[in-house]
Amino acid sequence: MAEGSLIFISGGVRSGKSSFAERTAAELAKKTDGKLHYIASGKAYDPEMEARIQRHQDDREESGLSWTTWEQPSALEEISGSFNYQDIILFDCLTTLLNNELFRAEDGWKNRGFQDKLSSDILRAISEFRQRCRSLIVVSNEVLNEPIGENELVFAYAKILGTLHRNIIEMADEAYLVEAGIPIQMKGEPA
């Protein structure tokens, strides 16, 4: 079986990247009569986050499409076996997942070996999803255009995130940068 398509979407906060990702997923589902899956990495630690998650859920419900939601704040690989060739998977988002993974590790993140393994585990999980599903859409954030500073954790985070983005885009069929709601196609043939 051929592997599914991989689409990478990134943008700033409130750039409309999630809406664009949802529209893209919905179109793909319509075109291929596929099943929509939403993998959420966000955990509600406070009311603000709760409201944010709720708004995204409402948006998806209002769309009239039926989404299956998976809450997976870490360890993506745990669910990579759950999908098949009919599935259109939207994963939102990589930055939150990385955040959760680094905090979950307590002091472990300081270890270079841990960092490398974390990034290769995430990449492997993404490849596995892609192998099984029809389309995988990965959403992430633009956070690397400011001083990274001396903080070791922030530095490790930035480095891993940059590495993940580069590698995912290299594997991807399409990559988009969303600016103020407008998707700019950086890789792939325009649809």
């Binding site: 700033g12 633009e142 690397l144 255009n145 400011e146 001083p147 990274i148 930035a158 480095k159 995130l161 940059g162 590495t163 983005h165 580069r166 885009i169 290299e170 990559a175 940068l177 950086m186 890789k187």
Partner: protein, 141 residues
């Protein structure tokens, strides 16, 4: 002169290495990330990485106006050097630090301002500018 910019860890250096096929091309690579000062122009291809860190160091010692003058002088000197021989080229690589929230510390604000100007001047001086987004290049000049 070629100026290459983009966010941190976006693969700028990797892109330059591939673009100029540095594995098989004699060159000198000077990195401000390893505290290497911009040194002698003794190769015909010189790559200077981490401009923003060099500017940061200057910003700790001198005022904004002086930084800009000093940087423009350097750019002018490099352009002169390039002009003397058609095979000569300077490649400048700088990480974009301009799109975050205004830094709390005055020193960081100064650094950010100085880098922004330095990048504008570098882009103006260069005959080619590339913006790198996770390994994908966009030629913007």
């Amino acid at each position: 002169m070629h100026f290459v910019t983009g966010g941190a860890f976006n693969g700028k250096s990797r892109w330059v290495k591939e673009f100029y096929q540095l594995d098989g091309t004699p060159h000198k690579w000077i990195s401000a990330y390893h505290d290497e000062p911009a040194a002698e122009l003794d190769h015909s291809l010189i790559i200077l990485e981490g401009i923003e860190m060099m500017i940061r160091e200057w910003a700790q010692a001198i005022e904004l106006g002086e930084i800009r003058d000093k940087w423009r002088e350097m750019l002018a000197k490099w352009l002169e050097w390039e002009k003397e021989d058609n095979n000569r080229k300077i490649v400048l690589i700088g990480s974009d630090i301009s799109k975050g929230i205004v830094p709390m510390e005055a020193a960081d604000r100064k650094w950010r301002d100085a880098s922004g100007w330095a990048f504008q001047d570098a882009a103006a001086a260069a005959d080619r500018v590339d913006l790198i987004w996770y390994g994908i290049s966009q030629k913007i000049k």
